[in-house]
Symmetry: D2
Subunit: 290 residues, 4 copies
Amino acid sequence: MQLGLVGLGRMGGNMRGRIRSAGHEVVGYDRNPDISDVASIAEMVAKLAAPRVVWTMVPAGHITESTIDELGGLLSAGDIIIDGGNSKFTDDQPRADRLAPKGIGYMDCGVSGGIWGNQNGYALMVGGSEENVATCMPIFEALKPAGPYGFVHAGPVGAGHYTKMVHNGIEYGMMQALAEGWELLEASEYVDNVPGAIKSWREGSVVKSWLLDLLDRALDGDPELAKLKGYAEDTGEGRWTVDEAVRLAVPLHVIAASLFTRFESRQADSPAMKAVAALRQQFGGHAVVG
Amino acid sequence: MQLGLVGLGRMGGNMRGRIRSAGHEVVGYDRNPDISDVASIAEMVAKLAAPRVVWTMVPAGHITESTIDELGGLLSAGDIIIDGGNSKFTDDQPRADRLAPKGIGYMDCGVSGGIWGNQNGYALMVGGSEENVATCMPIFEALKPAGPYGFVHAGPVGAGHYTKMVHNGIEYGMMQALAEGWELLEASEYVDNVPGAIKSWREGSVVKSWLLDLLDRALDGDPELAKLKGYAEDTGEGRWTVDEAVRLAVPLHVIAASLFTRFESRQADSPAMKAVAALRQQFGGHAVVG
Amino acid sequence: MQLGLVGLGRMGGNMRGRIRSAGHEVVGYDRNPDISDVASIAEMVAKLAAPRVVWTMVPAGHITESTIDELGGLLSAGDIIIDGGNSKFTDDQPRADRLAPKGIGYMDCGVSGGIWGNQNGYALMVGGSEENVATCMPIFEALKPAGPYGFVHAGPVGAGHYTKMVHNGIEYGMMQALAEGWELLEASEYVDNVPGAIKSWREGSVVKSWLLDLLDRALDGDPELAKLKGYAEDTGEGRWTVDEAVRLAVPLHVIAASLFTRFESRQADSPAMKAVAALRQQFGGHAVVG
Amino acid sequence: MQLGLVGLGRMGGNMRGRIRSAGHEVVGYDRNPDISDVASIAEMVAKLAAPRVVWTMVPAGHITESTIDELGGLLSAGDIIIDGGNSKFTDDQPRADRLAPKGIGYMDCGVSGGIWGNQNGYALMVGGSEENVATCMPIFEALKPAGPYGFVHAGPVGAGHYTKMVHNGIEYGMMQALAEGWELLEASEYVDNVPGAIKSWREGSVVKSWLLDLLDRALDGDPELAKLKGYAEDTGEGRWTVDEAVRLAVPLHVIAASLFTRFESRQADSPAMKAVAALRQQFGGHAVVG
């Protein structure tokens, strides 16, 4: 089938390749003419036969909104837009509502897999109607990994981004668990061969996982991670996960703590710990007593 | 080679089978005569040609200590004892010290893999001397998974159990991260197909892992886990991990929180929350105000 | 001076008394005619001489919004509305914006002190213009405790409710710290006289605090808190505090954990711990192994 | 009554003064001859009439142990040693057992109040026999604050240090709660007058407490705590509290998190966050994607 694809960056560019490899026709548009197949979104739309399917893979926020609105003006009844970016789930239904009067369908698709997705396939989490999912299934089949996993129709519009959000929340917690364990091994006088321990867990252990594989890979090149700073950005998904936990009264000790350690990693100095230091100074004098 | 194996329960029994399948001779002893190869530890030792290797796979604590001490009285200089149970790492060096005057070697081997190890191989984390590791390598080869992973000589005596302990700490954190994410998905009105979401992550996603596979497997039989109580024991390793974090001043937010949620799961009512309720009643009157 | 006061429940009723005791005239309105001074808000407004000041002390949410809108229709340029309820800080500026075209001023005032405020004075945290604060200062003076503390003009509109929100977040953390310590003392075999320990800290200790006083008071009547369930509601402020921490990338380990334990206290069974139990069953068989 | 007092540092020196002010005779010994009343512990003991009471106020650990052992050699049956230092509760019973054959009594006394205790009185938490407590009560009365609070006989030997330990655990949690709230206020654009907000809570609020008073005091001299680094030591008590929580299966989310943030405050860079950064780099390429 045909697909219009807006956004050919690291993710979108790889996805174009993977979909084409599966035998589909992709008309890709990017602001960067060096990698774009067409000169404009309008030209992209013109090259697609109705009913059209267009996938947006651009940065979440204003660019996604304006791209979808531009597409809304160019597409026709019966066409479908799929947003595969990291949009917040609450943005999905409003988009669907804006497109519905024109008869344009909308789906959200959370995409996981990072730079490895091109090779391994992308995990896809889709929100939308049964009918629209069926229409676009060939594209999903092209992108997802081989085998029975890697795709879910999670629910109506919004369910895809929601599922991806929770996925990322879990990811934060798993990463932090691995990171804490590695730090403890490094700190201890009992274990000489920390990279070997991490590597050994890749088979047979309860913690075997892709993230563990990646940690082993990182340690292969830098056994004490000496080249790295302990600094981690967070993307919206981790924050939204905690916000949802608060909204729904779900206790999320581990995922919230994982998010907070990322916040801490970006602070040159901790204001809270200044306050703790101030209190200790107040009640204990200059010396450190309790 | 020959191996004496004390303890033929779920783990030990399976390990006997796996080692035998690799072509080694195992003389197994268990208190239960129905599954034991010999009538006593002494008979087991008598059936082994020196230099002997004996693996203990009995419950951590008194039973392991008394078993090792009994073996210490029966074995000879040049023999080796490997403890594969869930002993605390601080118990290992004292054992080695008790056995050393007799010329008996000691190694500790943390074993992961649960009931699946028989089929997939066990992840082995070993502490001991280079020489003793080399001597016992055929047994480790028989037990570990095929391929380059699943075995580490982590350091001197104690390093094996230490590495296993940290492994389990990480396991606690990963399990809790998955559990929290699943609870949030279940709580939300946005996602209809929660089991499908979990299943989809098994390929292509960042959180793909054996624990995720097992969660999917559990949901296959019980999509809302309705048959289970939210009750989780903890084994010593999780507690020791937190104790070590405290000793070494390593911040272990996620692993400690995972341990604490297990504690909470076993409380019929939370004393702390009674105190919170009492305080709210005191300052807010009967009604619930802040 | 004169004050209109809408809402004469536990808080509002006591506040009317305290303001009157300070020599001011309060015209109070409540839906309950038994405690109301007037039959309607309109009558209340009619009894006040311009420029009027009206304080709303009704449940946060729709009732507060509709009350303020009703007042907006009845008051005149130069009048002032103060909302003393537990509104979210983000609701304040929109209210001010709705009232501004009519020349009606708006202030927000977070009120702490619970049922003890009538006797001890209420801690007041105010957001609004310097001019409006000055106009209403006699009322604030009447409500606040004697002495130099208990009142702050925290900033422009919204600052009062924001300050109160953070106050409650801190309150959650302090309560949880006390509750955890009490639970540990109760659990330990080392301390016989737990209520005596709590009581002793009321003077000389680093943790002396009003919340500790209240815990001692609760234990006086029920030394093991046997009459209480470990169940705690949360009000909006705790949740908003965590939401703000997420928005502003402030690590709030303790306050978030305190909120989450309240969530847990209200769960008949923990879904997350069901998932943990499921995982343990999957990898460990029926028995509990790690 | 007479008291021997070993250790005249910040705490011991002030205590000598307070006890003397109450009309008792104190013979103090310190290694520093400039502040010592006598040249040796032996001379101190010689100046006391039997039955003697000697209070040790020296650094926990080897110095306390050797001081108590030296006293054990000098004192007689019927004498009493009170350790007022920050000893671990598990050290108390062994000391009592070492002294018992000589007929020397032992008590432990946790002391809180910091540098303010001299003026306000010290909170005392005592473990020991009823009889020994009664004998030493005049000294406790001299040290404790006026009024009904500030002293508890918490249980048998060890109970005093245990109670003090939990007190400090609560202190960690309360300090962290205040610190987090202050950081959030500072981070927010909603509140202009953060020091004023803190100050206002000193009366009428739910969080009024001595620690809040001290935070206000610190902000008076340095409104943004700009002179301080976000660095906080921890004393043994916080760690032991978490260890006890682990031993007794008590969930201590808040106190443990407070301890961990102190650990973090002392790390130049976070190893765990290096691991998180490594993982993000591995799955996301050089750019930061999730």
